[in-house]
Amino acid sequence: MTELAAAPVIAGPSGRDEVPLIETRNLTKHFKVGGNLSRRRLHAVDNVNLVIHRKEIVALVGESGSGKSTIARLLAQVYRPSGGEIRYLGRPLSVRRSRRDILAYRSDVPMVFQDPFSSLNPAYRVSHGIMRGLKLHRPELNRAQRQAEAERVVTAVGLTPAADILDRYPHELSGGQRQRIGFAQALAYRPTLILADEPVSMLDVSIRIGLLNVMAKLREDENVSFLYITHDLASARYLSDRLLVMYAGHIVESGPTESVLANPKHPYTQLLLSAVPDPRAPLVVDAESDKGEPPRVIDPTEGCRFRWRCPYAVDECHQVTPLLRILGPDHAAACHVAQPD
């Protein structure tokens, strides 16, 4: 275990020796809370090490306030990290300073937002957003090529006839169609990784699966990786290769999706899994049903952040913050109590 303690366990698969698409080292983001003179800090993301490879779908799961959207925004460079670094294709983002470098990164790693009703400008036709992106990120295309490309991406997300869709206004589209436009915009930049922040949670259950299928298809046809952020474990299972579970700013469990769900190591993952409504299984309600209250992460003290809700907490959990430990093939959890396979 000594050699493991030396280097932090990185939430990623083993046996892939190519340079990962994106990699974070001790990524940290703190926000100031309170008034101007306040020294209190909200620890949204603390020491996150994760990798995403080419053509991989990684699901990031956790409750509201766990820091999963903050990670997406850090990766999209909407926020600057308070500590640690992000490497894209092996190169730290902090050395990318020129406008050209920054633009190139933004077009490689675009973001799709949660709310399809507020993320499209209602005053412009659908084509507007896609064309602007193309002009900015792919200036080599002429007008006809831009139109062809816009039609191609709209078709790729399953909207036909493309020319007709491009001519419409957002209010003429359903929620599911608008969210597909969100993906089409991202796709127009020829991305390597799409950051999808709860892309289906605002949609009806009946059309969510269509969007998930679009994401799976884009991975196959366009070789795009996805960071799929969600609080819905069932859809994460449907779509993703690997699962990262976040709690209060920490990644508490990581591994291949099927092995995490079949054999959850962290008590929080177990709680999440037990809360998924499943009409095909009988309802099990533990005596002390967890109320799902989010944790306090303002100036947290040392110790496991889940300990207040954890049924297995021991003394050590109150003293020492657990780090990710390898507990099975590619499967790691940050828990003092969890046992290896």
Binding site: E63, D204, I209, N213, D232, L261, A275, P279, S289
Partner: protein, 337 residues
């Protein structure tokens, strides 16, 4: 009297006045609720489920209005009542929990003040009794009464939603109408709230009408399930039966639309397309353009609710005279060609 009938909705119709003419959002809905029963209402956005709830609670405002039918609650028809008469029933006999607690609570008043407002609008309580009752209902839903002095933004989403439910229970009503109360919550908070609603119901004996677009959510909680599509009830029956053997292709589609957390990973398709524009509903069966098992008789014949075992389903598959309908459809096609 565990099974006494409390609410009888018959042939309820709601129309929205639009510049293009009126749109019928709720079309001939029947619904029975017994005392202490939990009724789940499911369907996609735009199928009329929220409109129906608002019509039952008489909360519709123009351009929407009830154009027909009756809502009989404890023997009185709510549809023909005046606002003054309704005010005597509202909150005391039936209450409503809205979808988004963030928008439904007043952000500049403390929770306690909002409880007080609600009580004073419907009863004459002493200040002492108002406080007492507020503390009581907060304890009922498992929130520390200290939060009566908190403002909505100081509470988590789950706590706000609980406070809304506490507010609905101020007068221990017989019927609580809930419009997607858990849709903004995480799975853990969501399950906890569902369990709590069920527990409160057991303690206090009120009936619940619960609207959601997530069919899996009510599977373990509701007694009766009502599936709505395009303003109509397409299937109604005991929840377990509808889940185990859905009789309408739409119920089957809703059920198969979400991936399972257990068992094999299978590719799913959801329900292709979207609900129809109610200004121009499809002819015949309203679901036929999206139906995976539609036959030639479906576009031409409007199905009624047919009895299928213990459930009723609005699908021609179950029509007793289906053979005749099909023959007629064939004959028409031949004439046309």
């Amino acid at each position: 009297m565990p099974s006494a009938r409390m609410l009888e909705v018959r042939d309820l119709r709601v129309e929205y006045a639009t510049p293009r003419g009126s749109v019928r959002a709720v079309d001939g809905v029947d619904l029975d609720v017994d005392e202490g029963e939990f009724v789940g209402v499911v369907g996609e956005s735009g199928c009329g489920k929220s409109t129906m709830l608002f019509a039952i609670a008489r909360l519709l405002s123009p351009p929407a209005g009830i154009t027909g039918g009756s809502v009989v609650f404890h023997g009185q028809n709510l549809v023909t009542m005046t606002e003054t008469e309704l005010n005597a029933l509202r909150w005391r006999e039936y209450s409503v929990v809205m979808q988004s607690a963030m928008n439904a609570l007043n952000p500049v008043l403390s929770i306690g003040t909002q409880f007080q407002d609600a009580i004073e609008a419907h009863a004459k309580y002493s200040a002492e009794k108002v406080r007492e009752r507020s503390v009581e209902v907060m304890k009922l839903v498992g929130i520390d009464p200290i939060h009566l002095r908190s403002y909505p933004h100081q509470l988590s989403g789950g706590m706000r939603q609980r406070a809304m439910i506490a507010m609905a229970l101020l007068f221990t009503p017989d019927l609580v109408i809930m419009d997607e109360p858990t849709s903004a919550l995480d799975v853990v908070a969501q399950r906890s709230l569902m369990v709590q609603i069920k527990e409160l119901q057991r303690q206090l004996g009120f009936a619940v009408i619960f609207v959601t677009h997530d069919m899996s959510l009510v599977s373990h909680f509701s007694d009766q399930l009502l599936v709505m599509y395009a303003g109509q009830v397409v299937e109604v029956g005991p929840t377990r039966t509808v889940f185990d053997s859905p009789a309408h292709p739409y119920s089957r589609g809703l059920l198969d639309a979400f991936p399972s957390i257990r068992g094999p990973r299978v590719p799913l398709t959801g329900i292709p397309g979207s609900p129809p524009d109610l200004a121009r509903p499809p002819t015949g069966c309203r679901f036929h353009p999206r139906c995976p098992v539609a036959e030639e008789e479906c576009p031409a014949n409007e199905p009624a609710l047919y009895q299928v075992g213990s459930v009723q389903a609005r699908c021609l598959l179950h029509a007793p005279d289906r053979a005749a309908l099909r023959a007629a459809a064939r004959a028409r096609e031949e004439v046309a060609s």
